[in-house]
Amino acid sequence: MTNIREVTVDELRHLVSDRAMTGETMLLNMGPQHPSTHGVLRLLLELDGEIVVNCIPDIGFLHTGVEKNMEAKTYQKAEVMTDRLDYMNSVGNNLVYCLAVEKLVGLDVPVRAQVLRVILTELQRISSHLLWLGTSCLDLAAMSVFLYAMREREMILGVMEMISGQRMMTTYIRPGGVWRDVPSEFVPAVQEIVNVMPGRIAEYESMLTKNMLFTERTQGIGVISAEDCARYGLSGPVIRGAGVAFDLRKARPYSGYEQYDFEVPTYDTGDIFGRYMVRMEEMRQSVRIVRQALSRLPAGPVLSDNRKFVPPPRSEIGVSMEALIHHFKLWTEGFNAPRESVFATTESPRGILGVFLEGDGGPKPYRVHYVTPSFVNLQSMPLLTRQHFVADVVGIIGSIDIVLGDADR
């Protein structure tokens, strides 16, 4: 414990150029407490006047040890930890974990549960993009967009609370389906969001897209080419903003995404503005997916009836001895998973989110590893900020939409 500490500027000197040694350039510490680093990110900037020569991200200020903690819990209980990784995409984290568990033990998911999963992850995508819109515009000194975006976000949080009792950390998606069926108010509430959102997205765009104060700060800033995106292994809106139409929902569909009609928006400039345009269009596409999902939401069970992995409903426990045994066994010992390793991926609002899960034959995972888009996308910071002004660094951090809980885990 004593050897975990903050890295001092002196220890990072080998990463900066010789000019910093002679005092020709200046080293500036930004963060971890900084209003525009979107969490506890620390950047060491090497400046030539006001121009950024080099940028060294120092992460780990939010290292939580989630993966290690999950090894000490059964497969069902470990899921609770996944919400808190990327807290802007908690439903998506649950989904990718459940996909991995289902792959590991071979569980089927009922159709209704699959459609509900799609609705919820798309709503979560909208809410994540809304918060990104609000906070990154706040960094560019546009206060009112934040207030408008949070207004719509509350509607989505209201739906999350309705289904699970929690606004953010729902743990609603479970291995084998979803926790329980949605209440009758769910469909009208989602319908309301779907009806309202397109107008609201147009409202944000009317405030920003042609606003010179916004375009001057975003166009031509933080440019990355498609080749560089591939070299750095980036994903999500960052690459789509650079013209690469890659989306896992299309490339490797999961949860029945192949049945939905939607487009992968791209923009070819590769700058902050491109990422902004992509995310705005993605919100529209998410609304489109939710609308289709609502229209085809079938009746039926929402949880697999494989009693070896999924606990029985309360109504069965009172009448069936076997159900009682299953209930007891699943909530005390958990289920055993084979000695195999699986890898599942989804498209989170930030990019490719993968989970590697290894079973050891027992009820607890041997190893869980999250491959997170924020961590990968953060690598591009030195490239994106090079030769830009210090003031543009905040805009660039905002545009790659990092969540430090996702990067540090």
Partner: protein
């Protein structure tokens, strides 16, 4: 021919210095703009349109600890972050208060492991704990109002 004639009879208000100072402290308490993890999102929610923390004179989040009175520790504090947190606290001018928002800041929450400080009170003195993972904005506002109640009861003898 003085100010008295212009303003009319304003009467006299008698009070104590204690009351006036505590009243002004509670009604313009500036929090430090400092978010750590999930709770920071709900803290932003509390400041945004639906919950509007500025009703309590707290819309001004200062990014500099030198200008703030209240530190809302919103989220889990890792071992790496703890010295930074303490430094920020030391940089805040007196009088200062700390609100531990959420289970992680209060007691470590679900993260009982090597990386997370098991309660931020190991590092800084905490005035109010708010439970929840994360607490709702109403929960945060209730915690802040509880802190206001506490501040209103402070005695002149404690100021020094």
């Amino acid at each position: 021919m003085g100010l008295e004639e212009k303003t009319g009879n304003m009467g006299v208000v008698t009070t104590t210095l204690e009351t006036v100072v505590n009243w002004s402290r509670t009604n313009s308490m500036w929090p430090l703009l400092f978010g750590l993890a999930c709770c920071a999102i709900e803290m932003m929610g509390a400041q945004a349109s639906n919950y509007d923390l500025s009703r309590f004179g707290m819309e001004l989040n200062r990014a500099s600890p030198r200008q703030s009175d209240l530190m809302i520790v919103a989220g889990r504090v890792s071992r790496k972050m703890a010295p930074v947190l303490r430094q920020l606290y030391d940089q805040m001018p007196d009088p200062k208060w700390v609100l531990a928002m959420g289970d992680c800041a209060s007691c470590g929450g679900v993260f009982n492991n090597y990386a997370i400080v098991q309660g931020v009170d190991e590092v800084v003195p905490v005035d109010v704990y708010v439970s929840g993972c994360p607490p709702r904005p109403e929960g945060l506002i209730h915690g802040i109002l509880t802190l206001h109640e506490k501040v209103k009861k402070e005695k002149i003898t404690h100021w020094a």
